[in-house]
Amino acid sequence: MPEESIIKEEDRFHEAKGEPFDSAVCPGCGCLCEDIDLTLENNRVVQAFHACSWGLSKFHLGHRFLREPKHAKLVFPARKEPTGGPLPVSYEEGYEQAAAFLLQANRVVFFGLCQMTFDAQLLAISLIKHFNATVYPSEGMLLTPFFKALKQHPAGIATQEEIRQLATTIVFWGANPLHSCPRLSPRYAVFAAGINAPERHIARKAFYTDPYENDTGFFALRIPITPENEVDRAKELTEIIEEGSFSVPKELDALVKAIESSPFVALFVGRGIAYSATPDALMEALFALRNAINQKKPCVLLPVISDFNAMGFYLALIQSGIDPAESPQVCADLLAYQPKKGDTLICIGSDPFWFFSDAQREAIQSLYIPVVSISSLQNQTTHAADLVLPVALTGVEAEGLAYRMDGVPIFLRQVIPTAQPTDFTVLKAIQERILTEPSHG
């Protein structure tokens, strides 16, 4: 039998011809993988090494989004026609319109802001301050409770590299690393070799919390929880660690033993905490657990972040004098947003319409609330928006600074050219029009 017929052609390794562009940074999630080797031909990425399928879709500008092919790159700025279809406009017209929508608003509400460069985030925050706007960051469900708890329980953070080297007990609390950050476990948390774990996953013990078994179970033991008992579970664990106990419940036994015998413990907390009845209290309880373990051995708590620069946004808030732990402007749950007549919504690098309830969507429409979307890729929000301003995709078509989920700054490189402006340029242009408006000077 000829070899060709027995090996599937597409499974073989073929090196694509083209120009190498090595060590690009992936804007696919908060891991910001900085080891992506690309091959370019005619300013297109024709081969990508090491990016997971999620990250790959970014380098292909959404064209080869394996799971959701509809997320393609936006092409031109557009206003929604009265009939509902998109009417192409120039960027200049778009900036004027966006500024007009913002200036006419009684209340400006920002959504997203976690998938843009740090500089653009600082600029967006200056607009938030200017309008005294409300903001629903796309990672608000995780990071608003995180920063609230961090303020109560000040704690240092370790880098992913330190976790890889030192941690041998890994707990994913409300986090499914395989879905939110596919390469987190092979690169840092579980499978990579470290000083304390030369035998990689064999030397580490991993756990995850969930009411049900899921694919994390392939390498981690499940700690069963329910939305109702989750906080108590964390408190119970803290008590056992602090005081020791002769009667450790069966479900916590392996975890307690692992923590006791491990030189370094890493707690990864994910968006799943939003399902808890009381996410703020749960985050508090997890920080208390972290501190209890930390009395005996180093323990860090890190958020598992999907949106690549969510950490950057919260750091930008703090740098701009807005305390995300205290400010009523910074909200967590976008389902709590109550549309009001006179609102203007501005959605940047995010898709709140995917998450909104039907009631929220209907209210936004019936109250004629203008929606501005600044985005690279198509999504439900760009379909619903009254004004869409496409921007260059950071990390692929534009460069800029972002903060990894552990707070490490990483500079994303531009891989291919584009004629589209960056999110920074668009916000700057809108800001200029707002500041030159006589009544708002």
């Binding site: 039998m1 070899e3 017929s5 027995i6 090996i7 599937k8 597409e10 499974d11 073989r12 390794f13 090196e15 190498p20 090595d22 993988c33 080891d35 992506i36 080797d37 081969q47 990508a48 090494f49 090491h50 990016a51 997971c52 399928s53 999620w54 990250g55 790959l56 879709s57 080869r64 394996l66 590299e161 890889r164 395989l178 596919p182 390469r183 476990s185 092979p186 690169r187 840092y188 499978f191 990579a192 070799a193 990689r200 996953h201 694919d215 994390t216 392939f218 390498f219």
Partner: protein, 154 residues
């Protein structure tokens, strides 16, 4: 027939080293696993009735499936999400790539068994896979630890 190593294949062959296939039996087993030969290429199989059962087993494993990687690994591309756990747990890949051992993707000049290319597992160096090396310890690491169940051995 899942999880067939070169020795398992070898045991099913006539093991006479008659060289009618142009090689010895062990080499032929390896050629079957890499898809470089098919079971019928061993003439004694076709000629002698006593090998019928073994031939059938090998044909089931290496017949006209057309979906096997050179290592005998079958990849379900719809399930794989390119997480790279398979590469990270492959001892041989780690030996062949210092970068991989450090938690990064292998460099272009390195030759691990597995690399993630275009968001999918891809076999770059099939000959190095433990399943291809006679007498190497049994290895299922990549299959066992793929959380998406995207891999099976034929």
């Amino acid at each position: 027939m899942a999880d067939m190593k070169v020795l398992d294949v070898y045991r099913l062959l006539p093991r006479t080293n008659c060289r009618q296939c142009g090689m010895v039996c062990m080499a032929f087993a390896s050629a079957l696993l890499t898809g470089k030969a098919k079971p019928e290429d061993c003439p004694p199989f076709a000629e002698e009735e006593k090998y019928a059962e073994a031939l059938q087993k090998l044909q089931e494993a290496f017949g006209d499936k057309g979906e096997r990687e050179a290592t005998g690994l079958s990849i379900d591309r719809d399930k794989c999400d390119g997480c790279g756990i398979c590469a990270a747990v492959c001892e041989i890949s780690l030996e062949k790539s210092q970068e991989l051992a450090n938690g990064k993707g292998a460099r272009r000049f390195e030759s691990p068994v597995i690399v993630i290319v275009d968001g999918l597992i891809t076999i770059k160096n099939p000959d190095a896979c433990r399943r291809m090396v006679p007498d190497a310890p049994t290895c299922n690491a990549c299959v066992d630890l793929c959380p998406s169940k995207a891999l099976t051995f034929l």
